[in-house]
């Protein structure tokens, strides 16, 4: 009897853990308290009248702030499975805040971020959105998870708050789930797919069969299906082949790898569509390396992630073409240079070996630039005024002059770049060969 009781207790607890894990993405189950992030001071290298800052961010403190500090909410997943994305988003937002504060803030007010951890949980997202509303914080950025944006959207509409997402990429946010209160900075899946299909018809025309591996969730399936449709248009001589959809929780990837190998990919004419990111992408690669999966493909094209993949794999990393919004080497303009310079002054990111700012840092940075430029143009922090400005202004970003499309997605380039393991490099890999596909292509289809 005792043993049966323990078994039942174990099953009950086991179910609790499963439920907890499924709702939190296996994140640390602690509630992060709200915190105001102190901004550091930096010098003004040049007085930028424009929307971006060309401040290289060094020493002297700006003075003469008037009025109360302007508090902008930052809500993102800061811990657990995708905590790395949120932390890099925050890093970028903080760089922008520091640069603007060094130039006197915005509307004469010092800018402060109020950071909350939504732990990859829609429930926590709703809770924190309510807290922002009660604290009279109407401008919010952050957001890695598109699901959590959808959870926040009704509250933003109800409480007249604005959200400028940094890392969320689901296409529905600016299409079927469009809201006038939500703006999206990161290139969405559709834009990345269009860019990839465009390159499949130009740079990668010799790839005649495209296999695919993606996370087993709606966006993963939709992304692969959409890419197949676009491929028919951009390169009619190419076709899709084998596909594998890997659960987020999978610890065993070998059978998925075997199923791809069973299609006998050709190193001369096959390509792999790799729609995975974070730890899952690294784990899949680790189990694929001994089976020589990547060397069976002429092109391995990774989406929605970047150097965190190459950083984790180090010298073992396969030659990968990444498709995402930003790569630091791809853009030569004062704002990008100031952004890179400011990033280089930061301490190294824990567990991440980088030679330049990660695209998730840039997303947080650009999202904050969007807000600050809109506030400056509106001359107010009122929701309606800032929304009106967001919809109309152009501003300077690390990727050049950008503005929001009428659908509320940022009309910015999608960038392709390459990285591969490099034992001679200090960080274990090197990146090179970038190329941009502009919004006139990615938003036209």
């Amino acid at each position: 009897m005792k043993k049966q009781r323990i078994t039942l207790a174990a099953l009950a607890a086991f179910s609790l853990v499963l439920a907890a894990c499924s709702s939190t993405g296996a994140s640390n189950d602690t509630t992060s308290s709200s915190q105001s992030v102190e901004t550091s001071s930096s010098s003004v290298a040049s007085s930028s009248e424009t929307q971006g800052s060309t401040d290289s961010g060094t020493s002297s403190a700006a003075t003469g702030f008037t009025g109360d500090p302007l508090k902008i909410g930052f809500l993102d997943t800061m811990t657990g499975a995708n905590g790395n994305v949120g932390q890099l988003n925050l890093q970028g937002a903080q760089i922008a805040v520091d640069q603007w504060n060094a130039q006197g803030g915005v509307l004469g007010r010092k800018i402060e971020l109020v950071v909350k951890d939504e732990e990859l949980s829609p429930e926590k997202t709703v809770q924190h959105m309510r807290e922002f509303a009660s604290d009279k914080i109407n401008l919010i950025t952050g957001f890695t998870s598109s699901s959590d944006v959808l959870a926040a959207k009704p509250l933003a509409e109800q409480n007249n708050q604005l959200i400028v997402t940094a890392g969320a990429t689901d296409t529905s946010l600016t299409t079927t789930q469009h809201s006038k209160n939500v703006y999206e900075v990161a290139a969405n899946v559709h834009m990345m797919n269009v860019a990839a299909a465009h390159l499949a018809g130009t740079d990668w025309k010799d790839a005649k069969v495209w296999d695919g591996v993606a996370y087993d969730y709606l966006t993963g399936h939709d992304a692969w299906d959409e890419f197949g449709t676009l491929l028919k248009t951009e390169n009619p001589s190419a076709k899709t082949g084998k596909s594998a959809f890997v659960p987020f929780t999978a610890t065993q990837n070998t059978p998925f790898i075997n199923s791809l190998l069973a299609g006998n990919p050709s190193p001369a004419s096959s390509a792999l569509y790799y729609f995975m990111y974070g730890g899952g992408a690294v784990q899949f690669a680790k189990q694929a390396l001994p089976l020589d999966l990547f060397s069976q493909y002429k092109y391995v094209v990774g989406f929605a992630g970047g150097e965190e993949f190459s950083s984790a794999l180090g010298a073992e990393g396969p030659h990968t073409y990444f498709i995402h919004d930003y790569f630091y080497q791809a853009y030569d303009n004062p704002v990008n240079q100031a952004f890179i310079d400011a990033w280089k002054k930061l301490p190294p990111t824990q567990g991440l070996k980088l030679a330049g700012p990660h695209e998730w840092t840039e997303e947080g940075y650009t999202a904050m630039l969007a807000y600050l430029n809109a506030i400056k143009t509106a001359g107010s922090t009122d929701t309606d005024a800032v929304r009106s400005a967001l919809s109309t202004i152009s501003f300077e970003s690390p990727m050049g002059t950008v503005k929001f499309d009428p659908s509320n997605i940022l009309a910015a380039p999608v960038t392709m770049w390459q990285c591969k393991g490099d034992a001679s490099a200090e960080i274990g890999y090197s990146c090179f060969g970038s190329e941009s596909v502009g919004p006139e292509v990615t938003l036209a289809k």
């Binding site: 043993k3 009781r5 323990i6 078994t7 207790a9 174990a10 099953l11 009950a12 607890a13 086991f14 853990v17 499963l18 894990c21 993405g25 296996a26 994140s27 640390n28 811990t79 657990g80 499975a81 905590g83 790395n84 087993d216 594998a244 959809f245 659960p247 929780t249 999978a250 610890t251 065993q252 070998t254 059978p255 998925f256 075997n258 199923s259 974070g278 730890g279 899952g280 992408a281 690294v282 784990q283 680790k286 189990q287 390396l289 001994p290 089976l291 020589d292 965190e308 950083s311 984790a312 794999l313 180090g314 010298a315 073992e316 990111t349 824990q350 567990g351 991440l352 070996k353 274990g428």
Partner: protein
């Protein structure tokens, strides 16, 4: 089919390394230790810290072996410390309270790892000679997976010998069967408990250390693996090492076949099998009414 079975067996033996320590601890202490996944994770991070934090171009096999053994022993030391400081209090609690207590400890270990190593994924390179594959029966099999199977067999046999043929095993089985009588007979049950807990955590650390070339190290890896290990321990029969071995290989192969032939079942097959086994045989595959089996 053959490829799926090979893959499943390799994965099953890795899961067995984790589950064996979990079921061993339950067998003697009658405690379901959710924090076991934390010791698995620490084994991985210790190896990373020892050999891979500087992005080495290659990892010599002897260095990797030393790191794995050292990592496992270090985890055992952490296990001894936590057993003495925390678990001796948890033993006194009710079943549910002790489950929640160990789950809380798991969260603490994950949090500490997050502070020390961050949340970005990390990995350890394959040691030299073990990063390739060989073809068996027309199927490509990773040499490292073959090594894992070998280590799993050695551990299974070693545990059987330890528990069945040594004085320590005799005492551990006696304490598992009736702690009170052992105390009356003068057996130092507290010492036996500490030793068994240390052995269990060494096995978890060994599993985590050996898994490093095949996984992405993040703090939440602790939770990912403990869920599967728990399912294995429950299905194998609480406290049964042989049951854990059978269940681990069975689950590994079933999951692998599901991925190959009916992908929607991948990940779910574990829990379907657990449900079916517990309906048909609630005591688990290997009946272990008292003590260690």
């Amino acid at each position: 089919m053959l490829g799926s079975i090979f893959a499943g067996v390799g994965d099953g033996f890795l899961l067995f390394l984790i589950a064996s320590g979990l079921t061993l601890i339950f067998g003697v202490m009658r405690i379901l230790n959710f924090s076991h996944g934390g010791y698995f994770m620490l084994g991985g991070y210790f190896v990373y810290q020892a050999v891979a934090s500087g992005s080495p171009a290659s990892l010599p096999l002897p260095l990797f072996v030393v790191a794995v053994l050292g990592g496992a022993l270090l985890v055992g030391a952490v296990g001894i410390a936590t057993e003495r400081l925390i678990f001796r209090k948890i033993y006194q609690l009710s079943d549910i309270a002790s489950l929640l207590g160990t789950f809380g400890l798991l969260l603490v270990i994950e949090g500490v790892a997050e502070v020390i190593w961050g949340v970005n994924p990390m990995s350890v390179p394959f040691p030299t000679l073990l990063g390739k594959s060989i073809v068996i029966g027309g199927v490509r099999v990773g040499t490292y997976s073959i090594v894992l199977v070998g280590v799993g067999i050695v551990v299974a046999v070693g545990l059987w010998v330890l528990l069945r043929k040594t004085p320590f095993g005799e005492r551990a089985r006696a304490v598992a069967e009736d702690r009170y009588v052992c105390e009356l007979a003068g057996v130092n049950t507290a010492l036996v408990s500490t030793a068994v807990f240390a052995l269990g955590t060494v096995l978890a650390g060994l599993g985590g250390a050996l898994a490093t070339p095949l996984i992405a190290l993040t703090p939440d890896v602790a939770t990912a693996f403990i869920i599967e290990a728990f399912a294995i321990v429950i299905v194998g029969g609480l406290g049964s090492i042989s049951g854990a071995l059978i269940a681990a290989i069975g689950f590994g192969v079933a999951d692998s076949l599901a991925i190959t032939y009916y992908p929607p079942l991948s990940g779910v097959i574990f829990f379907i099998l657990m449900f079916v086994v517990l309906l048909v045989r609630p005591q688990g595959l290997v009946n272990n009414a008292r003590g260690l089996a």
